[in-house]
Amino acid sequence: MTALSALVRRDIRIALRVGGGALIGVLFFLTVVVLMPFAVGPDLALLSRLGPAILWLGALLASLLTLDRLFMADHDDGSLDLITMSRTPLELACAAKALAHWLAAGLPLIVATPVLGLLLNLDMVATGAVALTLLAGTPALTFTGMIGAALAVTLHRGGLLMAVLVLPLSIPVLIFGVAASQAAIVGPMTFGAPFSILCALSLVSLVIGPFAAAASLRHGLD
């Protein structure tokens, strides 16, 4: 356990220090969401209808943007070699890295959600619903995105290719995340059904993500 908590603490520390990218993700999220009304127009009724979708898209893009370097930095400086060799199973190390990433880059997105809800004319209930679905759904985004980050190391290609690989994987999360928040705002479905599917997706990705990422890293060794 010391090994994993050391890894989590190190990654969070790096993300928050000078040069780390955790807070840039939040800024990106803010900017994307602020841009949306310029595209759809300042009609408040329309904005509050689109609000959950806009917030979810923003969070999806922001978490994808910051995931890019999850393994790449460790690969470039040789840390990944030592992590692979260590007595900690690679799957657990991957999970620890993803957890650290979610704590440093995912949680701030959820904290920023109420402010953005205000800008998109969402009421308290709607904002709460979106924040709750993001809380349940962003781990899934991180843990599926992690697979793409591992592939990026294997293929020596980051950035856009990773986005193309990962975005389709996150479609189910997006569907049920937005569906749950819409259900809470306008109905007619109950909030519970899509929300529990969302939680289930998160749990499944919590298991699959580390294994897939570790497998991809092992095969990409060179």
């Binding site: 000078v18 803010l30 009609d43």
Partner: protein, 263 residues
């Protein structure tokens, strides 16, 4: 005293150490007077007591733009005159400007709730201030992203100047965008000539907040100078350690280059 005299960080530190208490004192006095006068100011016939929010909102809104102006001049100083303290001034101003812009947005939306019935309206003026706020945050992120301040300085200076040119264009286009979609519901603050009973407290508050900015900015610049001093000393320390352990083997060349790099 000229601008050249201020170019020496040591002299700047010595000078500002003397000026800073006076500046802080003047800020406190003017703020007290301004707050007293705004408390005494009568209610507006249209806005009621919420006009009191204006006394704090308008100075912050004024500063949000004024600070960007200061940063633009500092950026010119970095790029054109290569004044050694220019990028220190620009870097120190950014978080303070962001804080004032945040306050302008916050007090604006707290005023808007009773007046418009909503915290946020995609009104042209509010929206352009929001974009200004995002640009402040982006600038701060740029300063944070690069470890070496002198390398970040030029990039930040270019971005600041582009922002200064771009902000009026953004403002104009947002105006155009906003009126295109929503012509009638935009409520305007200006238009009516302000009564003296509002104007005087507003002016006093504006001057007080400008002084507050000056105080904070100079203090933050001093911190930034000290931070850079710490940084260069730490780099010297790093190379000195190598010196003590490697000098016996006659590897002075490497150390010499290290120290040159640190200086």
């Amino acid at each position: 005293m000229t601008l050249i005299d201020l170019a020496n960080p040591t002299r700047f530190l010595a000078l500002t150490a003397r000026v800073l208490p006076w500046l802080a004192g003047a800020t406190v006095i003017l703020l007290a007077v301004g707050l007293y006068q705004s408390a005494l100011a009568p209610d507006d016939y249209q806005q009621g007591a919420t006009v009191k929010i204006m006394f704090i909102h308008v100075p912050n809104a004024w500063l949000s733009m004024f600070v960007w102006g200061v940063m633009s001049i500092a950026s010119l100083g970095t790029l054109v005159w290569r004044h050694p303290l220019a990028d220190v001034a620009a870097k120190a101003a950014a978080p303070i400007g962001a804080a004032f812009t945040f306050l302008a947005l916050l007090t604006g939306s707290l005023w808007g709730r009773p007046m418009w019935g909503t915290y946020w309206e995609w009104d042209a003026r509010l929206t352009s201030v929001l974009i200004l706020f995002l640009m402040y945050l982006g600038l701060m992120a740029l300063w944070r992203a690069v470890d070496d301040p002198s390398r970040a300085a030029r990039a930040a200076a270019v971005l600041t100047l582009v922002g200064a040119i771009n902000l009026p264009i953004i403002k104009f286009s947002v105006d155009w965008w906003n009126t295109l979609h929503q012509p009638a519901s935009v409520m305007r603050m200006g238009g009516s000539t302000l009564d003296k009973s509002f104007l005087i407290p507003l002016l006093v508050m504006a001057i007080a907040f400008t002084l507050l900015f000056a105080t904070l900015h100079i203090a933050a610049m001093r911190n930034e100078i000290l931070r850079r001093r710490v940084r260069s000393l730490q780099m010297m320390q790093a190379s000195r350690v190598a010196f003590s352990s490697e000098s016996s083997a006659g590897s002075r060349a490497e150390n010499a280059s290290n120290e040159a790099g640190a200086a």
